[in-house]
Amino acid sequence: MKRYVIKRLLHLIPILLGVSVLTFGLLYIGPGDPAMQCLTSNGVVVSEEILTVTRQEMGLDKPFFVQYGTWLFNLSHGDMGISFKDGTAVAQKLKEAFVYTLLLSSVSIGLSITIAVPVGVFVAIRKGHAVDNVIRMISFVGNSMPNFLICILLMYFLCIRYKYFPIIAQNSIQGLILPTLSLTIPMCSRLLRQVRAEMLEQLSKDYITNARVRGVRETYILFFNALRNALPGIITIIGLSIGGLLGGSVVIENIFRWPGIGKLVMEAIVSRDYPVIQGFVIVTALMYVVINLLIDISYRYLDPRIDD
């Protein structure tokens, strides 16, 4: 186990380096010159002279690899450069916003799991019944809805038509409810389908019949045999859904004015603040990679048959 973790951690190094090249390269696919963008977003009247000086200050006159090296060196010290817009450190901005994104996504993930797993188990044992069909239909529709639409519908019905919630409730528990629901509904729908499928597969296996024949209690079979063996599959899909959740939270944060990194990045995109966009990609990738690493490790833990 220890060896596996070390191996995976070593494996992360080239991948993270690759992500850093990718992110640094993003600066180069944009139209125009970063120095020009920096000046225009500050509202400076651009002249040839100022442009040359700025290019020197930003190190843009150096070769690509030197620029990348400097950038990577700073990044490894937690320095993501300064924002074009107001000159504050990108790392600081992201750190403040990240707390909010982390709060929103972890609550959503937690809620999705607490709903999807019991309901998924329940519909699996009621396969073919009306309950199963209705819940499957709901989750199918929930899976086919863009999250921004879910979000707008929730706002319309809960805030405007029936006034259960205030529309703008920043930083309070009440303000957390609607964004969480908007993220939870699609994730939960996806998870529920998977839990049901995994449970059905396990329940059709011989060892379940065997346990029943031996007179083991049905609830014990369900939760300690079938669900236990379905866990690796369920956890895999949780890992995959988190990617969708991180992308979705950009949209949701912007609709609800939730001060997370998704809102930050959209503001950066509007003002062409490239360093913030880069920082956003790095932070999200890091979070995603770490979550997937944890999932892979737990996968081995749950199913020891998979050897190193």
């Binding site: 992500v19 990718l22 863009p146 319309y156 966009i277 990609v281």
Partner: protein, 270 residues
């Protein structure tokens, strides 16, 4: 569920999808009102006989805009899915058939691209490139070929060992010929199923980018941007949000259902 049942359902869904495609292609001829004409006299009118889905903040006919939006949304989605399908499959075939350094390099590239959530990367790429339909397509296409490449590679690897491939090699056929004539037809099924399932995802992705203002530019009609535009006055004209919203959901549902049915029919796992 018997096979014959599944087949019937598949044909039915495919015909509905065909009709939808036909409608979206002929949209300019079918629209009852000009989708781009502002009319100050009918701002935010409720659905009526002349405007069956009401009008928006500029007095434009919502129904006509939803129809024109179908052309943009479905058209762009299908173009992107086909392009990534072709590119991804070809890359997967090459990697699976030849292996070696090329395969290694591409698999590492895929590892890197997959360590950033797809939509996050798409938002960053589209954001830096600036809005516009082509840029949104590039942003979404950046990672969506991977699905086909990986699947085509794993399928090719298992088929490569078959005797008829050895026979073809002995027959002196070139690698490209073997890949396209002998391997591709045998792996096309699962790939097509995945492409169908992918249509819904890409459609939602496009709508999401347009919603954020990174897709089509106003005033062009597109479902995501229509929702984004009219959500500001949803309490005054809910139909202007509900109509394009329903269009996105129903289209995605249709293609997801079609994909699921195709998967069950071909007994493809995953």
């Amino acid at each position: 569920m018997t096979r014959i049942h599944l087949k019937k359902r598949f044909v039915l869904l495919l015909s509905i999808a065909g009709v939808l495609l036909f409608i979206s292609l002929l949209a300019p001829l079918l629209v009852p009102n000009d989708p781009y004409k502002n009319n100050a006299r009918v701002i935010r009118t409720a659905p009526s006989q002349q405007y069956i889905m009401g009008t928006d903040n500029y007095g434009r006919c919502v129904f006509s805009r939803v129809l024109m939006g179908a052309r943009t949304s479905i058209g762009a989605t299908l173009i992107l899915v086909s392009l990534t399908f072709v590119v991804g499959t070809f890359i997967g075939l090459l990697c699976g058939y030849y292996g070696g350094l090329l395969d290694n390099l591409i698999m590492r590239l895929i590892d890197i691209l997959l360590s950033v959530p797809q939509m996050v990367l798409a938002i960053a790429v589209a954001g830096i490139l600036g809005g516009g339909m082509i840029n949104a397509m590039i942003a979404l296409g950046f990672t969506s070929w991977i699905l086909y490449a990986r699947l085509a590679k794993s399928q090719t690897l298992s088929i490569k060992q078959e005797e008829y491939i050895y026979a073809a090699k002995l027959g002196g056929h070139s690698g490209l010929y073997i890949m396209l004539i002998h391997i591709l037809p045998n792996i096309a099924g699962p790939l097509l199923v995945n492409a169908t399932i992918q249509i819904g995802t890409i459609l939602i992705g496009f709508a999401g980018l347009s919603f954020l203002g990174l897709g089509v530019q106003v005033p062009q009609a597109e479902w995501g941007s229509m929702i984004s535009e009219s959500r500001a006055y949803i309490q005054l004209a809910p139909w202007a949000v509900m109509a394009p919203g329903a269009a996105v959901v129903l289209t995605t549902l249709l293609f997801n259902y079609l994909g699921d049915t195709a998967r069950d029919l071909l007994e493809v796992k995953g």
